[in-house]
């Protein structure tokens, strides 16, 4: 063991000496301390997504409202990672039927509350003139509370439980104009994939059943536009509006450290 350490020490000394002899003394190198800049913020989103539920071919519009805390941090000059979490509300425009349960069930325009968690990636991958091209994406997972309902039939009674989950994955290709002071408008194309499931179960005396219905988004692509407003040196407000894939608006207030 001691022999190995001695050899290593000798080799290192040799390398060090060889380096000193091979070049002229260089000026002391400026040390770079890599500090990740980050921001925290609040984000409010309202979106409407046309969804196809089960085998149905007619879309059922799903409204989603999110209130989230966000934390973004730059891991390099070109990449920002964000984490987010908060509260979500969803509502279907048309009734959702569970028709393979023994007793078919229908939920009608009920609002589901629950949690939303997500991760985002953002990269300003190139700039030219006053323009910056950006690609960004995010993945949100929606976990709604299970709701319980009474079932009252002429003689027997029972209960039904319905819950819902789902995800939204979004990829945006954006061109931002940086030539204005304090405001940076942008526009682009949004690709959006949303999918999830409804779960229903019922118990009426000895009669029980479960059903799972998948839902998915109908339109996958659409335009988006918005602007980021700089308020002072530490606060940014970003407004985004999108159509087709996700019809909605998004307001994000960020404090930059």
């Amino acid at each position: 063991m001691k022999a190995t350490q001695s050899i290593a020490l000798i080799l290192l000394s040799a390398l060090s000496l060889s380096g000193q002899t091979a070049a002229d003394p260089a000026p002391p190198k400026k040390e770079e301390i890599n500090v990740w800049s980050s921001s925290v913020g609040l984000r409010f989103s309202y979106n409407q997504i046309n969804t196809l539920i089960g085998d149905s071919e007619s879309p059922n519009r799903q409204s989603l409202m999110h209130a989230m805390l966000t934390w973004d941090f730059d891991v390099s000059d070109y990449l920002t990672i964000g984490l987010m979490g908060g509260y979500a509300l969803t509502r279907m425009k048309d009734p959702v039927d569970f028709t393979t349960l023994p007793l078919s069930l229908r939920i009608n325009q009920e609002q589901y509350a629950g949690l939303v968690f997500g991760i985002s990636l953002k990269s300003d991958f190139t700039s030219f003139g006053d323009f910056t091209a950006r690609i960004q994406g995010e993945f949100l997972y929606l976990l709604r509370d299970s709701q319980e309902w009474p079932i009252e039939l002429p003689i027997e009674t029972g209960t039904a439980q319905v819950s819902q989950n789902g995800f939204l994955a979004t990829a945006d290709l954006i061109l931002q104009f940086d030539g204005l002071s304090g405001i940076m408008p942008f526009a682009g194309i949004r690709g959006n994939v949303a999918s999830g499931q409804f779960f229903a179960s019922e118990t009426i005396e000895e009669l029980t059943g479960q059903e799972k219905i998948n839902w998915k988004q109908k339109s996958l692509f659409g335009p988006l536009a918005g602007a980021t407003f700089e308020i002072g040196s530490s606060v940014e407000i970003t407004l985004t509006a999108s159509l087709l894939a996700r019809f909605g608006a998004d307001l994000q207030i960020r404090y930059l450290f």
């Binding site: 393979t100 023994p102 309902w149 009426i204 005396e205």
Partner: protein, 435 residues
């Protein structure tokens, strides 16, 4: 079929109570309430109502034709809770949700359908008006077939075995409904042709060719009949043949076995045949309680573990006077003066003859048709689930005198609307006091 016209109407005033039998009509327009002012408490104007509940009410619109006012609420307002608050105000006498009414009915074009009160009873005459015995029933005393048909009219993959006198195979309303696998246990080499009439009558109630502009409507439009002849022209059958017929039906693809006959005795090999069909082959067995006007469900309906025992009602949702009853009775269905196809052997009109008959046999056929619809719509259900669902969705039509399951009507008269349409989930507080 699944996208009917929607009419928005004011259905109920004064109560938002949830009904035990929730139906399509219980959908309502979001964010709207309709109120009527109490004139005794003085005149309120729309603006004063708006100012009294600024956080709940978005807009107010008078409906002078209805002597009501439409209140539009903000989206976050719970309509039922807010409706209750309004009812507590002196000036408010009635509150209603703005319910949707849906024309969710499927009416077939068969010329005899208007006289099939069992399927849809609008208080019409039970017979065509010229008949001396005529009487009219009570509107709504029916199995709600037209509303059930909005969800399904059946499937050709469903086979109902009818263990009976055979079927008139060329009857105009049945000839296209005979599936493969029928059998004549009296003459093995012969077709199961009906020489009595009963089997044809029962089969037509289950699955007559419907919406074909001819004759009558069956409960399950598309199901196929497997005729199994064990009864002769004198309405007699030996119990060995019945047991063999039950096993034969189960082994040859029948999902439902209709047994519109009764036996006085508990015969062990018939019970074993029922057990085999029910447990080994997952068949649904439907049997008649009997027509001897007495307490005591006859066999095979009395094999409670395996058979759905069916009693009969009349056009007023009363127990048919001759119907047997007992603890094993599961459900009832109309069985008095039921229109059905039959035979008239000696006449050239044989294959287009119809009649009216009464008996638990015909009520049993109604239930077999209902099971065929349910099995078509939800093929994954087990025979146990089907039986439970039939029971739990039946209307407790004699609840005024005997609330709950009783020996006369079991769980009640079957209801195809409740059986097949979705139950609308509503919050527990979705109930307002009577005003």
């Amino acid at each position: 079929m699944r996208q009917p016209m929607i009419l928005t109407v004011l259905l109920l005033m004064g109560t938002l109570s949830s009904s035990p039998a929730i139906s399509e009509s219980f959908l309502y327009v979001p964010d709207q309430l309709i109120v009527r002012f109490n004139s005794v408490a003085g005149i309120r104007t729309e603006s004063t109502i708006l100012s009294a509940f600024p956080e709940e009410i978005k807009a107010v619109q008078p409906l002078p034709e209805l002597n009501c006012t439409l209140i539009e609420t903000h989206p976050q307002v719970n309509l039922v809770t807010f409706g209750n608050r309004l009812l507590a105000e002196k000036w408010c006498s009635k509150v209603s949700l703005n319910y949707y009414a849906r024309l969710r009915e499927k009416i077939p074009n068969d010329p005899e359908f208007p006289y099939q009160y069992a399927l849809k009873n609008s208080g019409q005459f039970v017979y065509p008006p010229a008949t001396a015995e005529n009487y009219s029933g009570r509107s709504g005393a029916d199995i709600k077939a037209t509303k059930g048909w909005d969800w399904t009219v059946g499937s050709e993959t469903i086979i109902v075995a009818v263990i009976d006198t055979g079927v008139l195979l060329n009857h105009e309303d049945l000839q296209s409904k005979i599936g493969s696998g029928g059998k004549n246990f009296l003459e093995e080499t012969e077709l199961p042709v009906d020489d009595h009439g009963h089997g044809t009558e029962v089969s037509s109630i289950i699955a007559a060719d419907t919406d074909n502009g001819i004759g009558m409507a069956g409960v399950c439009w598309l199901a196929k009949i497997m005729p199994i002849k064990v009864f002769n022209s004198q309405n007699q059958a030996d119990s060995k043949a019945i047991a063999l017929a039950i096993r034969y039906a189960a082994e040859n693809g029948a999902q439902i076995i209709n047994m519109s006959f009764t036996l006085e005795e508990d015969i062990f090999y018939i019970k074993e045949a029922c057990k085999y069909a029910y447990e080994e082959k997952q068949c649904v067995l439907v049997a008649a309680t009997g027509d001897s006007k007495q307490e005591g469900v006859l066999y095979p309906a009395a094999y409670d573990q395996y058979c759905i025992a069916v009693g009969a009602t009349d056009a007023n949702d009363q127990l048919w006077t001759q119907s047997n009853y007992g603890a094993q009775t599961d459900v009832v269905a109309p069985g008095a003066h039921i229109l059905c196809a039959t035979i008239d052997k000696d006449k050239p009109t044989n294959m287009r003859t119809y009649t009216r008959k009464s008996g638990t046999s015909y009520a049993t056929a109604m239930v077999s048709g209902a099971v065929a619809l349910l099995k078509s719509y939800k093929p994954g259900l087990t025979n146990i689930q089907i039986r439970q669902l039939l029971q739990y969705t039946a209307d407790d039509v004699n609840q005024a005198t005997l609330k709950g399951k009783d020996k006369y009507m079991g769980y009640g008269r079957i209801n195809l609307e409740t059986l097949l349409s979705p139950y609308l989930l509503t919050k527990p507080d979705a109930e307002l006091p009577e005003s």
